[in-house]
């Protein structure tokens, strides 16, 4: 592993020429350039803000202000990884609906995008690996039932989205609970500096969503419901929130009955309104943890971006 390659691990790489020019252009993502790309989503009172340029941002890398170039994420091909919790009762109509939804999600992607589906229950497995969006997807391998290896799935996705020279959007549909993984939530959060994925977690209330959860009761460790109808133990929200915040994503609490497809559409649109800020780090050591702070010159705006990256050693 070369030092040059190590520099590329935590973040998406962009053309040095693009970054250095300061021009607003679609960056060329390639693994050989030594640059940093930070994905940024900007909101004004929950509404996405579009049309910004590099003049609207201030970015510091380990406290040192950097010269950035800006491009819209709408124009950049991306990889979408869908993590689907199939540990509940996803049989019959619910399973058919899942397959329909995933195919429809695929149809919402743009030419040049790629999509992958990873399902998790007792085990974590690729239903299909990265493939060009738009085609008919091989969805027959989706099956349901069993216990939940959420953290194993998240760790797998973090590893699989490291060192790849395209924007990585990871959408996980889950109730947020894990009953089987060895890795814990802290471990998952500790891996975020090394991955390029932006994680969006969609949390379903397992007792209110139609496709879950009766078969969890057959799990090896059993399940206990509290008197008010929800699980005695809830998701580790603080850790899950840390995961999404540190990767520039978001935690979405799924209202009862809201279709997965609708949520996907919403979150994909949110991601697409974002920007890629690219820069060649200057005035900072390459190695170790780099804290990245992005601010808007308009104080009314809120900014979501990953909080840093590991620069290698």
């Amino acid at each position: 592993m070369t030092r040059r390659r190590a520099w590329c691990l935590a973040v998406i790489l962009v053309s040095a020429a693009t970054a250095a020019s300061g021009q607003q252009a679609v960056p060329t993502f390639r693994a050989t350039a030594e640059g940093v790309a930070v994905l940024v989503v900007v909101h004004d009172k929950a509404q996405p803000v579009t049309g910004l340029t590099e003049a609207d941002f201030e970015l510091t890398d380990n406290g040192v202000r950097q010269a950035v170039a800006t491009a819209s994420l709408a124009a950049v091909p991306l990889d979408v990884t869908i993590l689907l919790d199939t540990s509940g009762s996803v049989e019959g109509p619910a399973l058919v609906q899942f397959k329909t939804d995933v195919q429809a999600m695929n149809d919402l992607l743009a030419t040049g995008d790629r999509i992958r589906l990873i399902c998790f229950s007792d085990a974590v497995s690729d239903v299909f690996g990265l493939q060009p969006a738009g085609a008919k997807l091989p969805l027959d391998a989706i099956t349901g039932g069993g216990v939940t290896q959420l953290y194993t799935a998240l760790a797998s996705a973090l590893v699989m989205t490291s060192g790849i020279d395209r924007p990585q959007l990871v959408l996980a549909f889950t109730d947020g609970r894990d009953s089987e993984s060895y890795a814990d939530a802290d471990r998952i959060v500790s891996l975020t500096p090394f991955s390029a994925g932006s994680f969006y977690l969609v949390l379903s209330d397992s007792t209110s969503s139609s496709e879950m959860r009766a078969s969890d009761l057959k799990s090896t460790r059993g399940v206990i419901y509290s008197a008010h109808g929800s699980f005695a133990g809830g998701p580790n929200r603080s850790a899950l929130r840390a995961l999404v915040q540190r990767t520039g994503g978001t935690l979405y609490e799924r209202p009862a009955g809201e279709a997965l497809l609708t949520i996907f559409q919403k979150l994909l649109a949110d991601f697409r309104t974002g920007y890629v800020l690219t820069y060649i780090p200057a005035g900072v050591s390459r190695d170790g943890w780099h804290e990245v702070r992005v601010q808007s010159k308009n104080p009314a705006y809120t900014i979501r971006a990953r909080d840093g990256y590991d620069g290698g050693r």
Partner: protein, 408 residues
């Protein structure tokens, strides 16, 4: 180095006491008994379905179980029984079993008593819902009844391994159902896949968790088969399960009033049994790791040496890798994970641990290749998933031998 599957027979051959006396074949990795469970529901030789007409309440007493026992004795094999029928099966067995056991003459009584108890194991095999195994719930009641049936016999001589096998099998079943305990002090109504279980108001109080039921059953096992070294591990497990979270990191371990001392004492006592000493050391280390005491954990792992039991070696190297990573010794951690994977290639827990460790060491491509290969292939057996029911690895052989022992 050979794989876990390769080493099964050799590892078993080295055990000379306790289990070795009754399980000559030893552990089988396979799918950790999943095939047996699946068989109980899909390909069962006997199916105990509801006899009630549609819409009618289920019968309180399952009919004709003497005929079912005849069939089972002739061809012992899996039995499919829905959870909703367990009470009726218990009542049916209470009614017919005493007569059936004696009907073939005095000489057949011990075998037939074991046959009925083994039939109960077959019925319980598919019942992994922990709720069913709590105090006064159907699975626990059925097991307790079968156990009392065996206890009517004089203590078996060491040469009679049937009861020994039965206790190994039933301890394994209880462990598997009870990887967690109810939250202390909570007031809960409990539902099952087969419908609501009446809230007796007792849940959350003492003596209701599966680990407590396991404790009671262990006492019976110790009284009937006193020299089995596995019981020392089970005693530690009984204590440890009380601190095992229902959901991963649902409650920080340090925030729980856990019975740490009891767990440590139980596993330390197991250190005195050479047959289970290495597993006890691994479990002590894992417990220290959960408490955040990494240095102590590593000390136990070092003492464990090189276990010959492939499950124990996998657990050891997985936990050791974790402890080494936490101690900022990533190169050694990666080496430990690799040893675990040599035992169980592409076991998901160790694969993801190794892939993650490689990523943090700026070897993302190597990590992604490893995890990608794992994701593309059918899931391989992962010994981690049986860590809280460690005797499950003996279950398939125990049941196979029981079936032979009870066949007419």
């Amino acid at each position: 180095m050979s794989t876990l599957a390769d080493r099964i027979g050799r590892g078993a051959a080295r055990r000379q006491t306790g289990l070795a006396a009754v399980l000559a074949v030893g552990v089988a990795l396979g799918s950790l008994g999943a095939d047996l469970v699946r068989g109980a529901s899909l390909d069962s030789s006997i199916r105990l379905d509801s006899q009630s007409p549609p819409g009618a309440p289920p019968s309180r007493v399952f009919p004709n179980l003497d005929k079912v026992l005849d069939a089972y004795e002739a061809h012992p094999g899996s039995v499919a029984a829905p959870a909703a029928q367990l009470r009726a099966i218990l009542e049916g067995l209470k009614l017919v079993a005493p007569g059936w056991i004696g009907a073939a003459g005095e000489a057949a009584v011990p075998r037939r008593r074991l046959a009925v108890a083994t039939f109960v194991v077959e019925v319980l095999l598919g019942q992994s819902d922990s709720v069913l195994w709590r105090k006064n719930q159907p699975a626990q009641a059925l097991l307790e009844w079968a156990c009392s049936l065996l206890r009517k016999e004089p203590l078996p001589p060491p040469s009679d391994v049937g009861e020994h096998l039965w206790f190994i099998a039933t301890i394994a079943l209880m462990e598997r159902s009870g990887g967690s305990s109810a939250s202390p002090g909570s007031s809960q109504s409990i539902s099952t896949a087969s419908g609501a279980v009446p809230d007796t108001g007792a849940y959350g109080a003492a003596d209701t968790t599966v680990s407590q039921m396991l404790q009671y059953h262990l006492e019976d096992a110790e009284s009937r088969v006193p020299d089995e070294p596995r019981w020392a591990i089970v005693q530690g497990l009984v204590e440890e399960l009380r601190s095992w979270p229902e959901w991963r990191d649902e409650v920080a371990l340090s925030a729980q009033p856990i019975p740490a001392a009891a767990t440590m004492v139980a596993y330390e006592q197991a250190l005195g049994r050479p047959e289970v000493r290495q597993e006890a050391l691994v479990r002590l280390g894992e417990f220290e790791l959960r408490l955040g005491l990494t240095a102590k954990a590593l000390d136990y792992f070092n003492q464990a040496g090189a276990p010959t039991d492939p499950y124990v070696l996998y657990w050891l190297k997985l936990f050791e890798g974790d402890a080494l990573e936490r101690s900022n010794r990533p190169t050694e951690a990666i080496a430990a994970y690799r040893v675990a994977l040599q035992m169980a290639p592409f076991a998901q827990t160790a694969t993801v641990a190794l892939g993650s460790a490689l990523m943090t060491q700026h070897r993302a491509e190597e990590g992604a290749t490893l995890v990608g290969d794992m994701l593309r292939m059918p899931a391989r057996p992962d010994p981690w998933t049986s860590y809280t029911f460690p005797d499950w690895r003996y279950f398939p052989d125990a049941l196979a031998k029981l079936r032979k022992a009870v066949a007419k």
